[in-house]
């Protein structure tokens, strides 16, 4: 049932990367429970604009849980309380009248704050650039059906490939590790015959870059898996470690 609720928001406001930020209080009144969380922030921002104040900066684009652009820590949880849900797909029906909601940006050494809730996640792109691909140029690919891939392998690859690169795993991890993100790509490609030839090189290159970028280590806290909006499994981390070890043993790459 649709109803309207009143909320108190404590939102992280920070002008830029090198200035101090703090939580500011705002009131979101008459919020329909059919709204998404971002629509609720839209309402607050319209209000702030008309009051001559600066609206809250936050990243978003698709608003249907697939682009990975949105994300914030809601009452201590990445993307909020619902399992398998991005912030844009979180609806206000999961909150109650008079709730106090604390909204903060992703916090991690490798993600600098740009403004308010907006952070710089370019380190994730840098990890992919290190090797998250099959080295094939356009043209000259053989017929798509010339290699059969068992259905369950294709499905496992797809499970890993579903990562949206939002960075929630990093934000949720006490060590701000990017293992789940990195392992998802390494797994997807290592599972598929097309990705096998480069699997060793890829694992070494991506893990090395990940370490250099200031992401922490994995100490098996499993917070990443719990908060991942696409429910990417930590089995991928085990798979990555296997690839990495194999790579170390057999690789001719120094």
């Amino acid at each position: 049932m649709t109803k309207n609720i009143n909320l108190t928001l404590k939102v992280w406001r920070q002008k830029g990367p090198n200035v101090k930020g703090r939580l500011e209080t705002y009131y979101a009144n008459d919020i329909s429970t059919d709204m998404s969380f971002l629509e609720m922030i839209d309402v607050v921002n319209e209000q702030l604009t008309l009051e001559d104040k600066e609206p809250i900066a936050f990243d978003h684009d698709c608003r249907e849980g697939i682009c990975g652009m949105c994300g914030a820590v809601i009452n201590g949880r990445a993307h909020g309380p619902e399992k398998g849900t991005t912030l844009c797909q979180l609806h206000m029906r999961h909150f109650s009248d008079k709730d106090v909601i604390v909204i903060e940006p992703w916090r991690a050494r490798a993600f600098k704050i740009i403004k308010d809730l907006v952070v710089d996640r370019s380190a994730l792109d840098t990890i992919i650039q290190a090797g998250g691909y099959v080295s094939v140029d356009t043209g000259g690919a053989q017929d798509a059906n010339s290699i059969a891939i068992p259905q369950e392998i294709a499905e496992l690859a797809m499970d890993a490939a579903a990562c949206i690169g939002c960075g929630a795993c990093v934000a949720a991890c006490p060590n701000a590790s990017a293992m789940l993100f990195t392992s998802a790509k390494i797994s997807q490609l290592a599972l598929l015959p097309q990705g096998k030839p480069e699997a060793a090189l890829r694992a070494i290159a991506m893990v090395n870059v990940m370490d250099k970028l200031g992401f922490g280590n994995c100490t098996n806290e499993k917070e990443c898996e719990a908060e991942c909006p696409k429910e990417i499994s930590i089995i991928n981390i085990a798979r990555m470690n296997r690839e990495f070890l194999k790579a170390g043993l057999i690789s001719t790459v120094k």
């Binding site: 008309l50 849900t85 690919a141």
Partner: protein
């Protein structure tokens, strides 16, 4: 002026091969001397950037989002067409070509569509080689399904996330070239002007969205892959940042805008629920393969779906179109839904919805099968509406979805401005007046992987260009103009927010230039938009600073462009006195309420030249010739 599409001679099936042979080549060692700007990293821009860099060109690529992986293409759900004929059900290059021309209601350019069908198979090969995890059958071979407007199964898919997987494939190829130093990537940049020198596109002005600085970038050619403009309607299925700015800025610099009134309404979206709504969510059209569309037979029947007996349900698509049934093309499905709601048979709280029912499919195939096919879509539906589609039928309603119109391009995908290429949804050429499902992904990747790498070489080798850098005065002038506009927007300090204006513009267009149009309504819309635009420039309130991360300012610039552009859209709709595909003018319909084309007078592309604010744009015509598909009244009965 009559426009020349530069379609090469010869039989349609041989044109592209022969043309590729005739095109001038750039010597491999010379390629690194050429700089190419690509704006956009969706399927079109991502694939173009990677492929051009692989050839050896220096590529600079720009996008609005913080990462190239987040372009709007990521949201495509249903699938991508290719004439592989793996299921052996009668598909061929020729059939895909035929279906696409007919589906587009005979307003696309035959030669482009044929080429699209030809390269469609290469796209699937390329994507599989990149590691795109398409759905497979038990034998491990690629699975196919059928999609709206086609009677063969030619759609490849990756669960309900096909766009995501294809885009991540292109993004991986792009990332590889960034790593190789052949592409320089500029994320969080918005193109705000095109720089034209000696009638050739030579660069762009972008705003760095983090610092607010304006930057100048020069090049030998500019490739726009900036997507579609249906966010002009405020509510649409497009991502929030989708805009017309890049294309419209190019239009103001001389590029013609083709068929702007051809917009597509998607029949299966989640109905609207309140004024605060920021966007509409699509439910993939693939659902129509198993879902049955119905409304109560009696207007005003407000009983819940499960209390309406079979005999009192009207499966209107199956009844009216026995051979295509629920799989009729989008324009037909959308218009029929509207018709049902207009006569009071709509369901749900607002009466602006029809049912999409899976009961029979679940009975027939079992819940597991349905879950495997559509699980993530059902889940998404439940998240948004809090209703469970395994138990009660979904409610759907049409929403604005796709722009068939776009910048005019010739067979090379070059606009009338030399050196300005336009790919993907941003151009106009392949879908005519209506796009068939699963063909936008195909077109974006065809343009980027397999067309532009050839045609841009022909341009670079075949034309002479002056040596310029971004110190050229044209860059200074353009920067100055952009700057003036930004300062103006920030200084108005009026009483209405940007979104408030945008919402009003969208409502006006939806009412008068949406699913059905008529002359009186269009004229009213034009007047209204003009007034709204004037008010915008006096009464908008844009908070924040110029040299800062400022999302209100970003949106203000986009809405200002939408306001100007929408007048051209309405002009185009007024000028096209016929109905075709997504452009349904109520004055032109058959006895059975189908779109009635006028091939004698309107078998052409309408391309509009900008003539200054407050002046009517100038009309240019590219006649369309159909030599291979006979012009007929479309029938899906």
């Amino acid at each position: 002026m009559q426009l020349d599409g530069k379609v090469p001679g010869g039989h349609i099936s041989e044109k592209w091969d022969k043309y590729r042979f005739d095109l001038k080549l750039v010597n491999p060692s010379n390629k690194r001397k050429f700089n190419i700007i690509v704006v956009g990293t969706g399927l079109a821009g991502g694939s173009a950037s990677a492929s051009l860099a692989e050839l050896g060109y220096n590529v600079k690529t720009f996008c609005i989002q913080d990462s190239p992986r987040r372009a709007h293409s990521i949201a495509a759900q249903g699938g991508i067409n290719a004439a592989k004929n793996y299921p052996n059900d009668g598909d061929s290059t020729w059939r895909l070509f035929y279906d696409t021309v007919k589906g587009g209601d005979f307003r696309s350019r035959e030669a482009n569509v044929y080429r699209l069908a030809q390269v469609s198979s290469n796209i699937i090969d390329q994507c599989v080689a990149q590691g795109v995890p398409f759905a497979r059958d038990y034998g491990g071979l690629l699975a196919n399904r059928s999609f709206g407007g086609a009677q063969v199964s030619r759609t490849f898919y990756a669960r309900g996330q096909t766009g995501q997987q294809l885009l991540l494939g292109a993004y991986s190829a792009l990332s590889r070239q960034i790593n190789a130093g052949k592409v320089t990537m500029f994320p969080r940049r918005e193109m705000l002007d095109l720089v034209v020198i000696n009638n050739q596109a030579r660069g762009i002005i972008v705003r760095n969205l983090i610092t607010g600085e304006l930057e100048s970038h020069d090049a030998d050619a500019v490739v726009l892959c900036t997507g579609g403009y249906v966010n002009v309607f405020f509510l649409s299925t497009n991502a929030m940042a989708c805009n017309v700015t890049a294309a419209f800025r190019a239009c103001k610099k001389g590029a013609f805008f083709a068929n702007p009134c051809f917009t597509q309404i998607h029949p299966t979206c989640i109905p609207m629920h309140g004024t605060f709504q920021s966007k509409l969510t699509l439910m993939s059209e693939s659902l129509r393969n198993d879902g049955r569309v119905w409304v109560p037979k009696n207007p005003g029947d407000k009983r819940p779906a499960n209390q309406i007996p079979e005999s009192e349900r009207d499966y209107y698509l199956e009844n009216k179109y026995p051979s295509f049934g629920n799989l009729v093309p989008r324009d037909v499905a959308s218009r029929n839904a509207k018709e049902q709601c207009d006569v009071g048979k709509g369901v749900g709280e607002t009466g602006l919805a029809v049912y999409l029912d899976f009961e029979e499919a679940i009975k027939r195939d079992g819940k597991n099968v349905i879950e495997k096919k559509y699980g993530n879509l059902f889940q998404m539906y439940e998240k948004i509406t809090a209703a469970n589609p395994y138990e009660t039928p979904m409610m759907i309603y049409p929403a604005m979805h796709y722009a068939m119109g776009g910048l005019w391009v010739d067979y090379n995908l070059m606009s009338n401005l030399e050196g300005l290429f336009v790919l993907g949804e941003a151009n106009f050429s392949d879908h005519g007046a209506n796009r068939l499902g699963a063909s936008a992904l195909m077109q974006g990747l065809a343009d980027g992987y397999f067309v532009i790498p050839y045609t841009i070489g022909g341009y670079l080798a075949g034309t002479s260009r002056k040596d310029i850098t971004s110190d050229h005065p044209a860059f200074k002038d353009a920067t100055q103009a952009v700057n003036t506009r930004i300062n103006k927007l920030l200084s108005i300090n009026g009483k209405r927010t940007v979104d408030d204006f945008h919402r009003e513009l969208g409502q006006t267009l939806w009412n008068h230039c949406g699913m059905a149009r008529n002359e009186a309504g269009l004229k009213k819309a034009k007047e209204h938009i003009k007034g709204l635009r004037e008010e915008f420039w006096q009464n908008v309130k844009v908070p924040g600073d110029e040299k800062d991360f400022n999302q209100s300012l970003e949106r203000a610039g986009r809405v200002a462009d939408f306001l100007e552009f929408s007048e051209i859209m309405v002009d185009d709709a007024l000028e096209r006195k016929e109905s075709c595909g997504g452009h349904f003018n109520e004055a032109y319909q058959t006895d059975e309420n189908e779109a009635l084309r006028d091939d004698e007078n309107f078998c052409h592309v309408a391309a509009w030249e900008f003539k200054g604010e407050n002046n009517k744009p100038e009309f240019h015509k590219e006649p369309l010739v159909f030599e291979n598909v006979k012009l007929t009244q479309r029938s899906y009965k």
